[in-house]
């Protein structure tokens, strides 16, 4: 790591709440992370942990109300995004930052040809004329492995994996600096998932794009990311380089996730799941959010929220016992 | 979570907690009670004529004025409400009920039965409902029962479509397969599992239909086909007053306001009912 070492995206103390009726839901609680040029950070966690909310608040596409960003700074290449006007954000969305959504079936407009959908984004963000944009769109389709003569076809003429390729082509057409991929392969079959993951990885290398990958699948994380942030109940509870996290997981929740994976516990007849269910986001525990499910819980865990501790260079963990012997 | 409450009660509580439908319920309940209590409240007899006091504007003695035969307009509106509300309610229940049964048959059995029923409904609903009402009223003759029949027939196709559409979207849900795999009988699957999950839009539609039927009945009376004078149905009151619209506008104004208010109240309740019966919105 030399010149690529500069921090490219910085998220600091991001805080988002959802208001429903009289209740407030703390969806994202003081989340901070950094991303270097060309690198991938994976946000891992279960349904409702707040992963997607983090990504959407970077793009500022959260519906307000009910969502409200209470605080935090998001800096992209030294530029503060949270204070930009809506017009300036328009330029960033789809241009500098692009997003790939989970469900390729609903992310495409069924009434427009896939070609036109790619062209539309290109015309909005670049100085292309119509012909140049069409050529670029065809080039993008070829790049994701779709013959360019399918440019004039409609989404229903494509299969699920093909649609996700189109979505990827759309996202990458404007050469974004940052790609937000929200469970990009969850809706796909395993063999298609493998194709799409390989494709994303190759394109990322080719264009040196940075990526925030949102997933619940530790296997996808292992194959695709450089750093990992484990998200639980709106907080990052562990944050480390991928190798470090997979070899020395520190937080009991991260350990629990690994214990829950079939195939990790070779030779043992039972998995070691985490007990209980994720907490109710409208009624989070006062102390550590994981305390009610934690096998090592102590009185201190219930009384106050543990701080993020750096247990080895670059490896952060939000647990009282972090760094100590359990 | 562990306290057992009935669905009906829960639904009622949720309608009440919706401000819009609460206003609707208060207005509607007031109108219904006042109309039912007409003999107690009404200052005059319904057909009492007072030829000395024809076409009197609103006053303390006659709050809504009097008509061309000196009958007290307030009294007639109170009594008329009994007919109008009963007409609306009966026609809505009858129409939606018949529609729901036909629609269930179409949705559950599918195939040729369904195609046939739906084509008939297409033809049925392609006739303007007002025209259909006029045709039926004209054929059967005027009168309360015939008006109910005429009005309800227009409601049938909507009920059929609603129920069938609901069943189509519900038919492939796994809980019905589950019911089959644990040996539920066909009637049990239909009535215990399927019907409660498809019936709410029809109930909502029927509620909204009450208001529609009242206006429709008023329209029928207006052209002389509905309930016949001297029955003081609201529409009939309007019809009587139509020749005097320029000279005595209050004669048309008061029944008009009452009809509009009733329909508004019912629509508010219907809106609240739709939200209250959606299981996804239940907390």
């Amino acid at each position: 790591m030399s010149k690529a070492d500069e921090v490219f995206l910085k998220v600091e103390d991001l805080e988002v709440i959802y208001t429903s009726g009289k209740k407030n839901v703390q969806a994202v609680n003081k989340v901070s992370f950094e991303l270097k040029k060309g690198q991938t950070i994976a946000l891992v966690g279960e349904t409702g942990a707040g992963k997607t909310t983090i990504a959407k608040s970077i793009l500022r596409i959260l519906p307000n109300p009910p969502a409200k960003m209470l605080g935090g700074r998001i800096t992209l290449e030294g530029r503060e995004l949270t204070s930009l006007s809506e017009e300036e954000m328009l330029d960033i969305r789809g241009g500098k930052i692009a997003m790939i959504f989970q469900d390729p079936m609903t992310a495409l407009n069924p009434l427009m040809t896939v070609g036109d959908q790619i062209v539309e984004g290109l015309l909005l963000h670049n100085d292309y004329d119509k012909d140049a944009a069409e050529n670029r769109a065809k080039e993008m389709l070829e790049l994701v492995g779709i013959p360019k003569d399918r440019f004039v076809e409609y989404p229903y003429q494509f299969s699920g994996g093909m649609k996700q390729r189109v979505v990827i082509a759309m996202a990458l057409a404007c050469n974004p600096l940052l790609l937000l991929a929200d469970e990009p392969t969850t809706a796909l079959d395993v063999t298609i998932q493998a194709q799409v993951l390989d494709l994303i990885r190759n394109l990322k290398e080719k264009y040196n794009t940075s990526m925030i990958l949102i997933t619940h699948d530790l296997g996808v994380v292992a194959e695709t990311s450089d750093t990992v942030a484990v998200v639980y109940a709106g907080e990052i509870i562990e944050y480390a380089d991928k190798r470090e996290l997979f070899i020395n997981p520190c937080h009991p929740y991260t350990n629990g996730l690994f214990g829950s994976l079939p195939g990790m516990t070779e030779g043992e007849s039972r998995l070691k799941p985490i007990a209980g269910s994720p907490p109710d986001p409208t009624d989070l525990p006062k102390g550590c959010a994981f305390a009610p499910r934690c096998p090592y819980v102590m009185d201190e865990c219930i009384e106050s929220k543990p701080d993020m501790k750096e247990i080895s260079p670059g490896h952060f963990c939000r647990c009282i016992k972090a760094g100590k012997e359990i | 979570m562990n306290k057992r409450t009935s669905i009906v009660r829960e639904t009622l509580e949720r309608i009440w907690s919706n401000p819009g439908s609460r206003v609707g319920i208060v207005i509607f309940a007031f109108i219904v009670i006042v109309c039912l209590a007409a003999p107690l409240i009404a200052p005059y007899g319904v057909n009492d004529m007072d030829l000395a006091n024809m076409y009197k504007g609103p006053s303390l003695a006659h709050p809504f004025g009097t008509d061309g035969m000196g009958r007290d307009q307030f009294t007639r509106i109170l009594y008329g409400g009994r007919y109008s509300l009963a007409l609306g309610l009966c026609a809505a229940i009858l129409g939606s009920g018949v529609g729901a049964v036909i629609g269930s048959i179409a949705g559950y059995f599918g195939g040729k039965t369904e195609t046939m029923i739906m084509r008939i409904m297409d033809i049925w609903s392609s006739l303007p409902s007002m025209l259909l009402c006029i045709l039926i009223s004209a054929t059967l003759g005027a009168g309360f029962v015939n008006t109910v029949i005429a009005l309800s027939i227009g409601n049938v196709p909507t009920g059929v479509r609603l129920i069938r559409g609901q069943i189509l979207s519900e038919r492939n849900k796994e809980y019905l397969e589950a019911a089959e795999s644990i040996n539920c009988s066909t009637p049990s699957i239909m009535f215990r599992h399927l019907l409660p999950n498809v019936v709410s839009p029809v109930i909502v539609d029927a509620t909204m239909g009450i208001g529609m039927n009242i206006t429709m009945a008023a329209a029928l009376s207006y052209i002389g086909l509905g309930v016949q004078p001297p029955t003081p149905e609201w529409g009939a009151l309007l019809a009587d007053a139509r020749t005097h619209i320029l000279n005595y506008p209050y004669l048309i104004m008061f029944p008009g306001i009452v009809i509009a208010l009733t329909v508004l109240a019912i629509n508010l309740i219907g809106d609240g009912l739709r939200d209250a019966m959606d299981p996804k919105l239940r907390k």
Binding site: T191, D198, G219, P262, I274 | E174, C184
Partner: protein, 316 residues
């Protein structure tokens, strides 16, 4: 004698563009207390296979034999008996429970239909036992399904399936809609229940790591046909069919020190509507030759290990 034998089972559907060969000539057997994993991608007919076996759909051809008795075409009282012995757990815990029936009602229903419980007290006692068995808190008995999270709902589904003490349960992707930590809880529950009741499972899934964990034997399906069948140990040690290999290598591995070498497949799954006579996987297979256009036979390569591919000797 195996508990369940399936012989040359076929299930065809008529669709607008032809005939969908959803399940095409499938045979296997399941012993008492054993788990058979059925693996394949969406559209391979694995769910239809399960539903056809337990009579939610009528078989087009072939036989289903339970305890030595042919039950392929049974009706009325006999069907009722068969259904009490064979149950199903569904994939989607959100749509497999009736949203307007309380948890208690859902679990109680099969008991009532069986007619084995005479009094209300007996019913209640049995419902309590089932709830405890699958780990649902007593206080949830009057809750509606939407008040429960995915894991608890799936437990309710399991309790309903277990209510009549079945001998065979089709588990149709029972954990794929659940979060990882909940998934592990449910898998453990299913395995504990098997230990205590000796029930047999047919575990239908697309997830090879789950199937490896829970199954004794595995069938790999592709477009309605069996492509490979072996004991779990044998299948993972000695993977023969190119499709199974591709499927195995496609799972993103959490073992970051030994990333799996990927066997890339061309294109995507084709359709099982009016398929040609040859190998259905040939269009995507990196090893396909003209020989693959001929019909393929399921061959026993070693004891209990069946493969349907004419080129395995050359490619392995």
């Amino acid at each position: 004698m195996p508990l369940l034998e399936v012989k040359n089972l076929k299930k065809y559907f008529k669709v607008a563009s032809g005939i969908n060969h959803a399940v095409d000539d499938i045979s296997f057997s399941v012993e008492k207390g054993e788990t058979l994993g059925v693996v394949g991608e969406s559209g391979c007919g694995k769910s239809t296979l399960g539903r056809t076996i337990i009579h939610l759909q009528e078989a087009t051809d072939g036989n289903v034999i339970l305890n030595g008795e042919d039950i392929t075409h049974v009706h009325g009282k006999k069907l009722k008996e068969v259904r009490e012995k064979m149950q199903i757990i569904f994939q989607d815990p959100y749509s497999s429970l009736n949203p307007r029936i309380r948890i208690e009602g859902t679990i109680e229903e099969p008991l009532r239909h069986s007619g084995k419980f005479k009094s209300k007290a007996e019913l209640k006692e049995e419902t309590n036992r089932l709830m405890e068995l699958v780990g649902i808190d007593e206080r949830l008995r009057n809750a509606y399904p939407h008040e429960l999270d995915g894991g608890r709902r799936q437990r309710v589904g399991i309790a309903r399936a277990l209510a009549l003490n079945p001998e065979f349960i089709v588990c149709d992707e029972p954990v794929s809609a659940l979060d990882v930590s909940i998934q592990a809880q449910v898998l453990n529950l299913l395995m504990d229940l098997q230990d205590s009741t000796k029930v047999s499972y047919m575990f239908v899934t697309h997830d090879l790591s789950v199937v490896k964990h829970i199954s004794d034997n595995i069938c790999v399906m592709y477009l309605g046909q069996l492509v490979e069948k072996a004991s779990t140990e044998e299948l993972f040690r000695n993977t023969l069919h190119p499709y199974t290999k591709a499927l195995l290598s496609a799972i993103p591995s959490v073992d970051i020190n030994n990333p799996m070498k990927r066997l890339e497949l061309k294109g995507e799954i084709t359709s099982p509507i009016d398929p040609g006579p040859g190998c259905r996987f040939a269009a995507r297979c990196p090893f396909a030759t003209s020989k693959c256009k001929e019909p393929q036979k399921l061959r026993e390569i070693s004891k209990g290990h069946f493969v349907s591919c004419c080129r395995i000797e050359e490619i392995n």
